[in-house]
């Protein structure tokens, strides 16, 4: 029995060694995972992907965006990490993101967007967490009111809500 357990431990160790050799380690989520970033990422904490709980994302530098949206009335205040910060955190190396929502709705966004604009993974709207019913837990928010070109159908489509998966491609 003991022999068997130590064998499993050894095997797990070998796997983690192998994993570490390909990817850098990052902090593990303590609570429910709300976002998984996979694909061309160098930093992971789970099998091939970087899993984030709310606290991990809230712990990153926060950016506030005050803007109108096509789906709300009036100006809203959004808060969350810059998408480019998150991508840097996991050392993403790709030209596009495949952003996927809870209901499997997916959209492809070029990573260049996040160099050009301070788009965020919004975690709070008007200081409050967003429930699934309110398009939470994560909504990609562009600083729409600051750039005229963002006030278009093309960009509106990128405002994916109920986001829970990103695949870097």
């Amino acid at each position: 029995m003991i022999a068997r357990r130590s064998f499993i431990a050894m095997f797990a160790g070998a796997v983690s060694l192998f994993a570490t050799s390909a990817h850098s380690e990052m902090q593990r989520p303590q609570n429910d995972v709300i976002l998984e970033v996979s694909g061309k990422v160098a930093v992971v904490n789970d099998a091939g992907k970087a899993a984030f709980d709310r606290a991990m994302l809230m712990g990153m530098p926060q950016k506030e965006i005050r803007t109108t949206t096509a789906w709300t009335d009036g100006v809203q205040v959004f808060q969350g990490p810059l998408i480019r910060d998150v991508l840097n955190h996991v050392q993403a190396d790709g030209s596009t993101l495949r952003a996927i929502a809870l209901n499997d709705y997916a959209i492809t966004i070029p990573t260049s967007d996040f160099e050009k604009y301070d788009a965020i993974l919004a975690l709070l709207m008007n200081g409050e967490e967003m429930s699934v019913r309110e398009k939470g837990p994560i909504w990609i928010v562009y600083p729409r009111d600051e750039h005229r070109e963002l006030q278009s159908a093309e960009y509106n489509e990128k405002w994916i809500w109920q986001l829970n998966r990103i695949v870097v491609e």
């Binding site: 789906w71 209901n103 699934v132 159908a153 109920q162």
Partner: protein
């Protein structure tokens, strides 16, 4: 005008046009932008997403209800939250505005309140794996209604897109118009203002450029809407207020091409349809004129019109008018559904026709079989009264019994067909429940005796004296229950009892129950019991005979009387069948007069234990003190206040000295032989014992007198001479039967061969009564009666083999006083004659004093 002034004017003009042009340009771009942004999050897409999420939520809920492996309350909850968020898309931001513009706000509000309802259903404990099925059902139902609403929403928004598109085109045209005015203005300024002209030209080019880009946007918008319409599974078109197509999908256009045949489709929807009707490509199955169909379609209230095409396919056209006069047309091939509908309808009609044919056949059979049976039964009844050898009597009796069985079978089948044809009508006349049940007791006792069973009757002391109801039909149910009980009981007893269950406001509920000690009904056979043509086992059927209709008929009859039937049964132990009928009370007096409380003790000493118990129960019901002798009778203890009921005469060997003795006489005809009791205290109870007789003897004891029995005579006539009866009857056998029947009464019988002769007889001679056959050559009984009624109110008794209620009604309508159905029973004939003459002047002259055996 100086050069400088001219220059100034020129500059002003140029400036004015430039400003005007600028506005025109601005106008075009604004419209363009609005259009772009509105179409951005395509409302149709959002509607489809809503429906999609709704489907996934319901699927998940369904899985949850079915304990599917992949289902979890958490997953269902998530699905619901996503669904919730999809509804919110229509309630905020750009789409909310669009929803308001399209007039779809009430629908969105409705959807919101429905999801809130689901939310409140699950608010308490969320979704559960083992949720109550009705909760799930409620949620699924609500989901269904949301689904309908969201479809309406999508359609409405699509229409909204159209309206906006049309408005856009209009605005764009006015913008271009503004630009054109500017251009024309500038052109008029002429070559003289070269500089300004060049400048203007530049502006004009720019404006044309703007107009072109606006047009492109419009085309793009149109394409989007067209794509949405195109993706629909049905034909779909938008028709403007004058009837021209604004837009239509391929399916719709292909239908239009079908309708117009070789002719070009044209721009007008109605013209195409009219062409279709004119060339018989389209056919209205209801045969409405084309202009009326067009009116109906123009009405556009969502009514669907279904037409058949020349290739026998079906098409459904549905039109709906919107607020601004635009008409939405939906067109679908409904051939499969329609064929199925037609097949079902045909199958139904065939079934109805078969049923009707069966009904007609049975009604015919009723006549055809009953007429000869009348002959057989009548003649057998005559023969049995003739002096016969013992063997001959036995054969005739057997033949008579067989004929009676045959009549029962025919009556059952006829009743069943009457029920099927909804012809079963109930009479509502005064009846005595005590007498009715005693009749059944009398009728069934011989049958019970033959099987070695004892049949008893007990009546609840609270039964009212008289109620209203259909005595014949009640008797039929009772006979059926009792004869079944006898059939299925090999030894023991059958007990019939009537109990008043409740009473209020001049009404009472009476339970008739028949308890036996028979073979009982196995649990698995119980469900089929009251269904037509079912006998519990074909082996029983062979053993016990019968049509298997009796219980089914009884059930229908009882239910028609407002009652219920039921039973309890244990295989091998016996059964209890019962039915409860509500009656209107005519007389709430008790069914037997009670002189006063009797202090007498009643002692029952009968060899038939079941009978003793039944009598004991009956007497106890009246509060009297009863004892049943067990193995040995008690010795005399000097008691004198005792009433003894036994089946032997009082003599020295009787241990007890009662002050009254009721001796039960078992043999049927024994009473006739007993002219005098041996003991003056003795009175006789003839078997089967009627509760009314028993209780009358016990409760109103008359001074004991020797019993004198008169020989029974059917009808006693007084000195007023024989009854003059006219018999209208064409059939010789029936004439013979009637003559033999009427032998019991002294009559002066005149026979007429048909209605016409009967009418002549009735005109020229005086009769006390007419017996009128219904089916006769020359003139039938109904017409003859009508004619007789013109000059006489003489009692007329109709005699018919048509047992159907409708036939009876037409007899009574013609003026007949009573109608008897063939085969005739002598007893019925006598009692009917007596009843009728009782009503007329001859009443005093006649009295029925006895019964006769047939």
């Amino acid at each position: 005008m100086t050069a400088s002034l001219r220059k100034s004017i020129l500059a002003l003009i140029v400036l004015a046009f430039a400003v005007s042009l600028g506005f025109g340009f601005k106008h075009v771009t604004t419209v363009d932008e609005t259009l772009e942004s509105r179409l951005a999050e395509n409302a149709v897409w959002a509607g489809a997403q809503l429906q999609f999420e709704l489907g996934r939520f319901r699927e998940s809920l369904y899985d949850l209800a079915n304990n599917d492996r992949n289902a979890s309350p958490k997953e269902t909850s998530k699905r619901f939250d996503i669904l919730w968020s999809r509804v919110q898309i229509f309630r905020e931001g750009d789409l909310a505005e669009l929803v308001t513009v399209s007039g779809m706000k009430p629908i969105v509000d409705n959807i919101q309140s429905q999801i809130e309802e689901i939310d409140s259903i699950i608010a308490d404990d969320g979704f559960k794996t083992r949720a109550q099925p009705e909760t799930i059902r409620r949620i699924l139902d609500t989901g269904q209604s949301i689904n309908r609403l969201s479809q309406e929403l999508t359609a409405g928004i699509m229409h909204g897109e159209h309206v906006r598109f049309v408005n856009y085109i209009r605005e764009r045209q006015s913008a271009i118009h503004d630009v054109m005015i500017s251009l024309v203005g500038l052109f008029l300024c002429g070559a003289a203002f070269t500089v300004s002209l060049v400048f203007s030209n530049r502006q004009a080019n720019k404006a044309t450029l703007a107009a072109t880009s606006a047009e492109e946007a419009a085309v793009a918008a149109r394409e989007r809407v067209t794509d949405a319409i195109e993706s629909m599974a049905e034909g779909f078109a938008v028709i403007d207020s004058v009837g021209r197509y604004v837009s239509a999908n391929t399916i719709f256009r292909s239908f239009m091409n079908r309708f117009s045949g070789s002719a070009p489709t044209g721009d007008f929807f109605e013209t195409t349809l009219e062409t279709g009707f004119r060339d018989h490509v389209l056919l209205d199955p209801l045969g409405r004129p084309v202009n009326r169909i067009m009116d109906g379609l123009r009405c556009a209230d969502g009514t669907g019109f279904e037409f058949v095409m020349d290739d026998e396919n079906w098409v459904r056209i549905e039109t709906r008018r919107t607020a601004n006069g635009t008409m939405i047309v939906k067109l679908a091939d409904v051939t499969d559904r329609k064929r199925w509908e037609i097949e079902t309808e045909n199958a139904k009609n065939t079934a109805i026709r078969n049923l009707e044919a069966q009904s007609r056949f049975l009604s015919m059979m009723s006549h055809e079989v009953r007429t000869p049976l009348n002959g057989v039964l009548g003649i057998l009844q005559i023969i049995i009264d003739e002096p016969l050898s013992q063997a001959a009597r036995h054969y005739v009796k057997t033949a008579l019994n067989s004929a009676i069985s045959l009549r029962t079978v025919i009556d059952d089948v006829l009743d069943a067909s009457k029920i099927e044809a909804n012809e079963m009508a109930l009479r509502n006349e005064a009846l005595s429940l005590a007498n009715l049940s005693e009749n059944v007791l009398d009728l069934m006792t011989p049958l019970a005796h033959k099987s070695g069973l004892s049949l008893t009757l007990t009546l609840d002391p609270n039964l009212p004296k008289s109620v209203t109801g259909d005595a014949d039909r009640l008797r039929q149910i009772l006979n059926n229950f009792v004869s079944n009980a006898i059939k299925f009981t090999e030894h023991g007893n059958v007990a019939l009892s009537l109990d008043r269950l409740s009473k209020s406001d001049g009404r009472c509920l009476v339970r008739f129950s028949v308890t036996d000690t028979g073979i009982g009904i196995p649990a698995e056979k119980q469900a089929d019991l009251f269904r037509a043509f079912k006998q519990i086992d074909s082996s029983y059927s062979r053993r016990f005979g019968g049509t298997g209709l009796g219980l089914a008929i009884s059930k229908v009859l009882a239910e028609k009387m407002g009652g219920v039937v039921g039973f309890e049964s244990t295989a091998g132990k016996g059964s209890r069948f019962w039915f409860d009928i509500p009656f209107e009370i005519l007389s709430s007096e008790p069914w037997v007069k009670q002189a006063g409380p009797s202090g007498s003790r009643v002692l029952i000493d009968l060899s038939d234990r079941a009978l003793a118990d039944a009598l004991s129960a009956q007497i106890k019901g009246f509060g009297m003190n009863v004892a049943v002798c067990d193995t040995s009778c008690p010795q005399s203890n000097g008691e004198t206040d005792v009433i003894l009921i036994n089946d032997s005469p009082l003599d020295a060997s009787t241990a007890i000295r009662p002050h009254m003795h009721l001796q039960v006489l078992h043999a049927e005809n024994m009473l006739d032989d007993v002219t005098e009791a041996f003991d003056s205290r003795t009175r006789f109870l003839r078997y089967p014992i009627h509760p009314t007789t028993l209780m009358r003897e016990l409760l109103a004891p008359r001074p004991p007198v020797p019993v004198k029995i008169e020989p029974a005579r059917p009808i006693e006539e007084s000195g007023s001479g024989p009854l003059r009866i006219l018999l209208a009857e064409d059939c010789k056998t029936n004439q013979l039967v009637m003559q033999a029947f009427l032998k019991g009464i002294t009559t002066d019988l005149v026979i007429a061969e048909n209605g016409k002769l009967a009418l002549e007889e009735a005109r020229t001679n005086t009769f006390d009564l007419i017996l009128m056959d219904v089916s006769m050559p020359e003139m039938d009984g109904i017409e003859a009666t009508k004619k007789i009624r013109e000059f006489s109110d003489i009692p007329v008794i109709g005699v018919t083999a048509h047992a159907f209620e409708s036939a009876l009604t037409s007899c009574l309508d013609a003026g007949m006083d009573r109608v008897l159905t063939k085969p005739l029973a002598k007893q019925d004939l006598y009692s009917t004659i007596k009843e009728l003459l009782d009503e007329s002047d001859r009443a005093a002259a006649l009295a029925v004093t006895g019964t006769e055996s047939c």
